[in-house]
Amino acid sequence: MAESGLLEDLYREIILDHYRQPRNRNATIEPTCSADGANPLCGDQVRVDVALVDGVIEAISFSGQGCSISQASASMMTEYVKGRTVAEALQGVDAFQQMMLTGEAPDLEGFDDIASLVGVAKFAARVKCASLGWKTLAQALAEGGGTVTTDDGSR
């Protein structure tokens, strides 16, 4: 699809790689907190399980189904936050949300692969797909876990 640069902005090779071979998907862990996320209108679903030890994400797993953007973004998210503290992970969530808002990749250690999702910011309809895993992580880390949705109710 060489004639379509727009498309390659959205679907960088690293994104397709994470979609085809997701990291930490359905990993066997003993979670201390979890959350479910969904875009009901699109059908994207992500579940995030986290094993916290002394404020550090020792292990993480995600599961679910959805488009390549939602699943690749969740996969990258798990790679990024594994071994980081809760505070660092939440900083990553903020950085990701900022990237979706501004269309500019943050200068953050370990964010190189994730920065490949910067092109999503140009596709308003897809931002909620990319954000789903990150928002679900934040929900899992917040006390009590629960359910999040990144749909705004529009159809």
Binding site: S4, L6, L7, F123, R155
Partner: protein, 424 residues
């Protein structure tokens, strides 16, 4: 009130696809990637021809005034145009009396009107309302709300794996306790054409009323409320060349007269005192407040456009395109098509999946080729549940679509498959 007999005749035009396409300038535009638009999302909303756009402009430029209240020239003209549109819509669906046409915002509002003004007045706890599993949410949610509020029983005619309704179950599901059968004439998600005659016969046998959701049938095939022998018909203007924000409820006059008003306000009253009010006659009783006059008039122009083509011809054209699409897409590697296999029992809707690629991604890549399709659950989540998929991709056709556009869809899908190269 304008009579149907007093309407100008609509001259029949031959089905000339090139001429039809010239009436829709939007079909010539390009999308962000520079590719020419191939619009295949007609089940969501149709495009509008220049004749309808001109009618909107003409109304506001030359005749604009509020209706039913003034003696001045503009108000009289606007009232005449509004009532003429009502008569045009009545003629279009075979209604005998224009007063049986209630203008609403859309199909959803028309169904809610029946739930509010008929069902809340006449149904009691234990009464049954029967819908089907292939309904749009707009023909499910109002009845769920009524169930929770009034204790009515809501039952579903199940969908078979091929997307048709389980007609054997109709006999047992529609019972002596059934008061209303609210059923789509055509599934927006799968295109299934419902054999209404079977359902109407059973409903009549038990004395139940029938409400037809015609959002996907009235724009695409001949619909005659007398021949159907139903009691209510709901549909939207925006899926049949008219603007957003104008829809229709048709109901039998005796039923409409027995019903309570929908909303309270101006235009729907006969007299108002400080203590109480009395209701205006049908249809004004259901059209509280200043209505969407301009768009109703434009709906009149839209049904004139469709009448000139002839709804038999519209259906014939869509059946040909659908038949071609079913065969063409079946040849694309990885594509599976949902629903009835032949175009005879399917409207111009083809829902499909491409192995290993999420519908969103299909839609995104096709957009760069200019091909506009719908992806998602199509506001028909029970259908998605029955198919065991979170979402589908859906191409839907209308009067202006061509086999060349189906080819663009098919070659776009071949490219999607190559691009993702995903093994499941």
């Amino acid at each position: 009130m304008t009579s149907i007999a007093g309407l100008p005749r609509v001259e029949h035009l031959p089905y000339d696809i090139a001429r039809i396409r010239r009436d829709f300038p939007i079909l010539k535009r390009e999308v962000a990637s520079g590719a020419q638009l191939v619009y295949l999302d007609n089940a969501a909303t149709s495009q509008r021809p220049v004749q309808v756009l001109a009618e909107i402009t003409r109304f506001y430029r030359d005749h604009n005034a509020n209706i039913h209240r003034g003696v001045h020239t503009l108000s009289v003209e606007a009232t005449e145009l509004y009532e003429q549109a009502r008569a045009k819509v009545a003629r279009f669906i075979g209604a005998s009396d224009p007063r049986e046409i209630i203008f609403t915002r859309n199909t959803t509002e028309a169904i809610n009107l029946v739930a509010h003004s008929w069902a809340r007045k006449f149904l009691k706890a234990g009464d049954e309302v029967v819908v089907s599993e292939i309904e749009h949410h707009s023909n499910i949610v109002p009845w769920q709300m009524l169930r929770d509020e009034r204790g009515i029983v809501l039952k579903y005619i199940p969908m078979l794996p091929d997307g048709t309704l389980d007609l054997d179950a109709v006999q047992s599901i529609i019972t002596e306790r059934t008061r209303l059968v609210a059923i789509t004439a055509m599934s927006n998600a799968l295109g299934t054409i419902v054999p209404l005659d079977v359902i109407v016969a059973r409903a009549k046998a038990v004395g139940a009323l029938v409400l037809v959701d015609g959002a996907q049938s009235v724009p695409h095939m001949p619909v005659d409320v007398q021949a159907l022998d139903v009691d209510f018909l709901a549909f939207s203007g925006h899926k049949m060349l008219a603007p957003f924000g104008i829809g229709v409820l048709w109901g039998r006059m005796a039923l409409l007269e027995s019903m309570d008003p929908f909303m309270g306000g101006g235009d729907m009253i006969l007299t108002v005192s400080m203590e109480q009010s009395t209701w205006a006659d049908v249809p004004a009783k259901f059209e509280a407040g200043t209505p969407n006059v301009g768009d109703a008039v434009a709906l009149g122009a839209a049904v004139d456009y469709l009448s000139a083509l002839g709804m038999d011809e519209v259906r014939r054209h869509e059946r040909e395109i659908t038949d071609y699409a079913l065969r063409r897409l079946a040849d694309v590697p990885g594509v599976s098509i949902f629903g009835v296999p032949d175009a005879e029992h399917r409207g111009g809707v083809v829902s499909f999946e491409l192995e290993g690629v999420h519908p969103h991604d299909i839609g995104q890549v096709l957009d760069t080729k200019g091909v506009a399709i719908r992806t998602g659950h199509h506001c028909a989540q029970p259908v998605m549940l029955a198919l065991n998929v979170p979402a589908t991709a859906r191409a839907s056709f209308y009067i202006y679509n061509t086999t060349a556009e189906v080819d663009a869809l098919a070659s776009g899908l071949e490219e999607v498959g190559r691009f993702f190269g995903v093994r499941k």
